[in-house]
Symmetry: C2
Subunit: 276 residues, 2 copies
């Protein structure tokens, strides 16, 4: 079997806090890098995605093939991957009518890639944006909320298909939503909070899926200071949370959780230093 041969630059190994009720310790975790990549076809920008910056030639070609834009191997002229600039440039000899049809489809699909919030947050971070909140949570409350969220049965029990998100005031879950996409589930709880004028600066967001840069950007954009998930984050999600002052808590299962960013929002945190 050929494999895409993941280079070591796609992941980092770092130390985070492992919390349990009554005790905490340092633990090594491995995080994946995600990056924004643009696809240019014959000098025109046609797509942007968050991905792992590896095997990008295949990814760009596969996208064009799945969209029906590129149909025959002989049409392909050149593929140039510039990982540093985050661009894959493809030159191809494609019949005008197919380019036009594809362009109509891509226009139809446009405006909804939902990466706008990432660009927006990157700009705000450059301007020095911080979440204005003094909210904190005890390790016990993190574990308890995580368990309440994980044990909520809902549609997932029967379908194995949906994601869940919830909004909490730190002591109880106020609202719970499900959707086929985790970004939609988060939008639903944020929309609920907005309509009901809930103070996001005192809220905890819980979400079932992996927390990518987009998910953390959404929470940061509305000023939520605590994010709890049974899953894991990317390097970039952790970096954003650290810079804006969001406490990012993952692997929240049973009586364990990992604090990936801003541990000062966990109350009375004392942990055994390595070798102590």
């Amino acid at each position: 079997m050929k494999q895409s041969g993941i280079p070591s630059g796609c992941v980092i190994r770092t130390q985070c806090l492992h919390i349990r009720p009554g005790s905490s310790s340092q633990e090594h975790v491995v995080l994946v890098h995600e990056t924004g990549i643009e696809l240019h076809l014959n000098s025109q920008r046609i797509m942007k995605t968050q991905c792992m910056a590896h095997d990008l030639e295949h990814m760009a070609l596969g996208f064009l093939v799945c969209e029906g834009i590129l149909q025959h191997r002989s049409e392909l002229q050149e593929v140039a991957v510039d990982t540093h600039a985050g661009v894959v440039k493809i030159s191809a000899q494609i019949p005008e009518h197919r380019l036009q049809a594809a362009s109509a489809v891509l226009r139809l699909a446009s405006g909804g890639s939902k990466t706008g919030v990432i660009d927006c947050m990157q700009q705000k971070v450059a301007e020095g944006f911080k979440i204005i909140s003094d909210a904190t949570l005890s390790a016990e409350a993190v574990i308890r909320l995580g368990n309440e969220f994980n044990h909520y049965q809902g549609l997932y029990r029967d379908t194995k298909f949906v994601h869940s998100a919830a909004l909490s005031d730190g002591s109880r879950i106020l609202y719970h939503a499900e959707d086929v996409g985790r970004h939609n589930a988060v939008d639903k709880v944020v929309g609920f909070g907005f309509l009901n004028e809930i103070d996001f600066a005192k809220s905890v967001l819980l979400c079932s899926g992996r927390f990518s840069l987009e998910m953390v950007s959404k929470a940061a954009r509305v000023g939520i200071p605590l994010y709890v998930s049974p899953a894991a984050p990317s390097v970039e999600a952790v970096a954003l949370a650290q810079r804006v002052g969001m406490c990012l808590i993952g692997r929240a299962r049973d009586d364990n959780a990992i604090v990936y960013a801003s541990p000062y929002r966990i109350q009375n945190l004392h942990y055994d230093h390595p070798g102590s």
Copy 2:
């Protein structure tokens, strides 16, 4: 706790084939509906997403709030949800400078929502598109490939963050790719197949995540006749696979799998009828 109160119309209960080596039986499964929803703000279309058509008011508001377009409850004038037409219309009094900034961000994000392939496949299905392939697979081969794919360790073991996709000729896995998005992982294996002129009509796609309409549309667009996953599909993914002649196999774990569509591609299939 308030919940979004999922209405029964969001799921269906249907019969599928449960296969094991040497035997098969009918089994009830529950599938989630997904649907394409457009968001219009002050009569302008600004976003499109695949979602569960429920709690759409919250979803649309949450999207606008996370993007920074809507900032105060008092700016909101009206929300009209037309589930039948698949449109949520929001009227809001938003300062011109914020609308312009948001519009720039949304334009930047445009062209990459990756739902183009869904629109494209819906048009092709209306024109009578079928996958041209006589490929079949034995139940034993499905189970064996599924296990080989599921036991591939790769990056997921350490990071709990990435999705996997693979391309097989029915007897062995030819290529394996990983990415933070399952659509990107599928693009990567399709791009590999395209570059190496692999005959998609004789191929099996394996993918780790839930198989939504977008995932099945991608495979259908390139003419792959068999799709195997450890996860579950949506109603619309199953309907598309059925119409184009793709065998959709989910919950492929250990020595079990569920055939959701086109069971004629499974060799020597005989099963016990209920009551026999």
